[in-house]
């Protein structure tokens, strides 16, 4: 989230799209209802009428997978009806930048596409620059090559008629949402968006979110109270696990994973440290080398020296362009390349797409190590439906773990609040925290390499790995401090603005990432977490102060929010060029002439009007401004509507490109696709329920929750049920070209058919919370139906739009 949960109460219009907040984030929804109590308009756009819809001012159903068309139509409406917040757009976004003449868009494709690799060369997605190397700008926004005009041209194709025909939303409903939401494009109104897996689980997921970001920039809703783009994330510490990058493409703190062509630290830093020639751009990522070297010092300790490039060469390197996500993992496991797997607190035999393929792949493993508090369908795959254990060679270890309340540690919520948990009780019998399991396994592996040698033993043996207390148990505070970072020698930090000099002793904690160094004199396991401790060792994550000086619900003394306890990021954009708040009634920040007062500002510099020292507000962008034109994306700088991999249409009404041209196509014999196929005529989507969590791997073992939601069901609209002769409560089979599940039919008014390209399209939906292991008769994984395909940028699987048939059993 750019903002945080309590801040939802400050909004004037909340667009809930790609989320069923009332059922999946009930406590977050409480803050949405507080906004409603204040008079805010709450809108739900979702294929299905849910309990969220019931509490909103209005619900607008749309066909799964057409969000970019819907939002692109909103951009067109905003631009045509002059709803933009012009002052903001002009000064805080790249609307005025002049784009290279070589850039173009034709029939669904941007310049630079290579159909063989399904990838773009981005070298035409660039701005014209002046002699200093600063992007050329047209502050009148009339130059036909400026971003604003190109944006306008791009979305002029998203007319009401076109969008209505694609999405199945009536023109009246489109206008109702567009009018209500675009009314926030003024100084004293805030609009926000809440999304969840309903946006990320598409082949176009990242670009859906970017389309909303463009809308937020056009309306001046980024960086303000009650605004932002807010992901309601679905796991307790998914923010923290992402920050620490248990991900193939990043190292902790979102540092880039090195690739083979970057064979030295110097080359890696050169490639990943952005440059700006504009003196008003803070370009905060110019500090990338400090974050990287401090990470390497945390990783390898004294073994990392300037002479050996701080151990950079010991890190694994991906090939340039290589991806090794969950879907690649199971694809390569299915092909026999992956021999061993750690599956920690996860149940991919239920949660990964294309279950037939995933479960076959698991049978190819030589060994599997599971760590969890309950057994699940992954760990017990060898005795699953249709599997003969006598034919499965896999050695399986299932290690008992402590539950959340049985261990101490930090947990980060979606609003970036890192909260400290205390241990309430011992775990039962032999169960220990996952952190301690990791330490024990690595201790054993390290001992073997120390004794026997082996392939590239250096990084294993040089890993700094001293995170046990005097009793040999996992010392969570030692790790937390290592993540925060230390001064590795006595250091004097001079603050020229304040005229102070502070001495930090070797071994003291680094109180902010601004003090990290690139010469090996500081360590920092994850730069964004620097400042989670005071220099003297006080743990800010454990803070429980209830003061609220701004009255806006920031609670600056409750826990620690990264970065540097900033509660709303990009907050300098809440003020005008002179640092005065656009909306004095919600004063998040104000420049008093020599300092910012309010939230922790996005950098200490004066506001932008000060041409000498002032900086632009979007300090993490090299150009310092919000990116309406976003050249970092895999499929183009402007989001474009493409159909899902599997959909009801055989042609894209907007262009000759049916699906996202940049997605990777997996092509094993089990990766079948049936687009616009009469055998699978219904659009299908998947979701959760309040009583279960994710794959149900924790909640299905709990009697109270299971009693409330005992088994798998498919929601079918009344017209389709009537057509198929299916009555409420009857058993049915739902099948895709890849697999099938049997379940109970729930005939409902919540799904209504869509009129798409002149034809009636039915949509159905199933929860994804069930698996064969427990309860015995609760149904199996909904992912038997879903395809192995994902977003072109993130490889998030397309769980939210694919095609099925439903038949009576």
């Amino acid at each position: 989230m750019t903002n945080h949960y309590i801040d939802l109460k400050n909004s004037d219009v909340i667009l809930i799209m790609g989320s069923n907040a009332a059922e999946h984030h009930p406590i977050a929804f409480k803050w949405i209802l507080r906004a409603k109590d204040r008079g805010a308009t709450i809108i739900h756009v979702d294929p299905r009428y849910t309990r969220t819809s019931a509490r909103c001012d209005f619900h607008v159903p749309l066909r799964s997978g057409t969000d970019i068309a819907f939002l692109g139509g909103m951009i067109n409406y905003i631009l045509n009806n002059r709803k933009i917040f012009r002052e903001y757009v002009l000064h805080y976004t790249n609307a005025s930048f002049i784009v290279s003449k070589a850039f173009h868009f034709k029939d669904g494709l941007f310049s630079g596409y290579d159909p063989k690799t399904r990838k773009y060369s981005k070298n035409t997605w660039v701005f014209d620059k002046d002699s200093r190397g600063v992007p050329e700008r047209d502050m009148t926004l009339t130059n036909p090559r400026c971003v604003y005009q190109l944006l306008k041209k791009h979305y002029s194709r998203y007319t009401l008629d076109q969008v209505s025909s694609i999405t199945g939303v009536t023109k009246d409903d489109l206008l109702k949402v567009y009018e209500a939401y675009s009314a926030t494009g003024v100084r004293d109104k805030a609009g926000t968006n809440c999304y969840a897996l309903g946006w990320t689980h598409h082949t176009t997921g990242s670009q859906i979110i970017r389309t909303m970001s463009i809308i937020q920039l056009l309306l001046g809703n980024m960086g303000i109270c009650g605004g932002g783009v807010n992901a309601l994330r679905g796991e307790p510490n998914v923010q923290g696990s992402t920050d620490h990058c248990i991900l193939y493409g990043n190292l902790p703190g979102y540092l880039k994973m090195p690739v083979a062509s970057q064979d030295t630290l110097a080359k890696y830093l050169e490639k990943n440290t952005p440059k700006s020639s504009d003196p008003q751009s803070a370009n905060y990522y110019q500090n990338y080398p400090k974050f990287t070297v401090s990470f390497l010092k945390a990783l390898f300790g004294d073994k990392a020296t300037a002479q050996n490039g701080f151990g950079y060469s010991w890190l694994p390197k991906l090939d340039d362009g290589q991806a090794t996500s969950l879907m690649h993992l199971f694809d390569d496991m299915y092909k026999g390349k992956i021999k061993g797997l750690f599956a920690v607190g996860t149940d991919p035999a239920v949660s990964s797409p294309n279950t037939v393929k995933v479960r076959k792949a698991l049978e190819n493993l030589e060994w599997l190590v599971g760590e969890n508090i309950f057994d699940n369908e992954t760990y017990s795959f060898w005795k699953g439906p249709g599997v003969d254990p006598a034919k499965v060679k896999t050695e399986v270890f299932l290690l008992p773990a402590s539950a959340s309340m049985e261990k101490e540690g930090g947990q980060s919520n979606s609003g970036r609040w890192v909260q400290w948990k205390y241990k309430a009780a011992e775990a039962p019998d032999d169960a220990i925290p996952v952190g301690e399991i990791t330490i024990k396994i690595m201790d054993s592996v390290r001992a073997l390499y120390a004794k026997e040698g082996g392939k590239n033993p250096v990084p294993i043996l040089n890993l700094k790995w001293d995170y046990k207390d005097s009793n040999g148990r996992f010392d969570v505070l030692k790790v937390a401090k290592q993540i925060n970072g230390h001064f590795l020698k006595d250091t004097v930090i001079e603050d020229k603005a304040k005229g102070t000099k502070t001495v930090y002793k070797k071994g003291q904690l680094v109180p902010t990432f601004g003090m990290l160094m690139d010469d090996g004199s500081t360590s920092g396991g994850n730069w964004i977490m620097a400042g989670s401790f005071e220099a003297n060792g006080a743990n800010k994550m454990a803070k429980r102060g209830k003061e609220d000086p701004t009255g806006l619900g920031l609670y600056p003394n409750w826990s620690f929010a990264w970065p540097v306890n900033r509660r709303i990021i990009y907050n300098r954009a809440s003020c005008d060029l002179n640092g005065k708040p656009f909306n004095p009634k919600r004063k998040l920040l104000e420049w008093t002439g020599n300092a910012w007062v309010g939230d922790v500002p996005d950098g200490p510099w004066p506001p932008q009007a000060d041409k000498q020292k002032g900086k632009y507000p979007f300090i993490m962008k090299a150009d310092g401004l919000g990116a309406l034109f976003g050249p970092g994306m895999a499929e183009g700088p402007f989001p474009e509507h493409y159909e899902p991999l599997e959909g009801p249409l055989s042609r894209n009404p907007l262009s000759g490109q049916l699906i996202n041209p940049a997605v990777k196509i997996f092509n094993s014999d089990l990766d079948k696709v049936a687009n616009a196929d009469e055998k699978f005529p219904y659009v299908c989507t998947t979701y959760s329920c309040t009583e279960h969590w994710c794959s149900g791997a924790l909640t299905r073992w709990q009697a109270w929750l299971l009693e409330a939601m005992p088994e798998l069901y498919v929601e079918i609209g009344e017209p389709l049920a009537k057509e198929k002769g299916i009555r409420n409560g009857e058993r049915v089979k739902v099948s895709s070209v890849r697999g099938a599940v049997e379940c109970v039919a729930m005939v409902t008014k919540r799904f209504r058919p869509f009129l798409v390209e002149g034809k009636t399209v039915h949509q159905v939906g199933l929860p994804f919370n069930y698996g064969w292991l427990h309860p015995k008769d609760g149904g199996d994984s909904t992912n038997f139906l879903t395809p192995t395909v994902g977003d072109a940028n993130t490889f998030c699987p397309e769980y939210k739009a694919f095609m099925v048939n439903v038949t009576k059993l």
Binding site: L398, E408, D430, S444
Partner: protein
């Protein structure tokens, strides 16, 4: 059933008519349940109270675990009224958190091992399992290690072992897994952030 004088007064005040009716042969169960709640309230007041955070979605609701001072066991978990986000309230899952403690009969308590071709789990010691896991990791890693790619570039990666998870463990545990994987050269690293 233990009822103190104060608890009894509260009980009879709130449910006076119910008690009177029960003497006429009507159902006493709701009254007993209410009295048990009062009993639990007193245990809660006498307990060691430990703050934690809910382990389901990412709202980060505060909870209070009540721990019996004699047994050291958690016997109640409820919303933290001091917490600025949830202000004491919890959803259905959060309100049921107690069922994740060792009171749940399905909790894993021992190291389990399934041998090749076997149709069952068997209990093992930590030491046995760690030794065997380390051996398998090392043998698999050494056998499948890729020092240089097809272009001859130094890549130092292990492509034969994958690591999945987890977004439902604490930050410090995530960081340890993230760096341990890198030290072994693993690249097939992923977790729930993507699914």
């Amino acid at each position: 059933m233990q009822i103190t004088r104060r608890g009894f007064l509260a009980l009879s005040g709130a449910l006076g008519s119910g008690v009177a009716l029960s003497s006429l042969g009507l159902n006493l169960r709701p009254v007993k349940a209410y009295a048990e709640e009062i009993n639990k309230m007193q245990r809660v007041m006498a307990a060691r109270q430990v703050t934690s955070v809910c382990c389901y979605c990412s709202v980060g609701c505060g909870v209070i675990c009540s721990v019996d001072k004699n047994t050291g066991k958690i016997f109640n978990i409820e919303g933290d009224p001091e917490h600025p986000i949830n202000e004491g309230s919890l959803c259905a899952k959060g309100a049921g958190l107690f069922d994740l403690t060792e009171a749940n009969k399905y909790r894993l308590r021992k190291v389990l091992y399934r041998a090749p071709m076997s149709d069952r789990w068997e209990e093992k010691s930590w030491d046995w399992a760690l030794e065997r896991i380390a051996r398998l990791v090392k043998d698999t890693r050494d056998k499948g290690f890729v020092s240089r790619n097809a272009k001859g570039e130094l890549v130092n990666r292990c492509e034969s072992i994958g690591h999945l998870g987890s977004s439902n463990v604490d930050n410090e545990e995530c960081w340890l897994m993230s760096v341990a994987c890198r030290s072994m050269g693993l690249v097939y690293i992923d977790h729930q952030a993507r699914v």
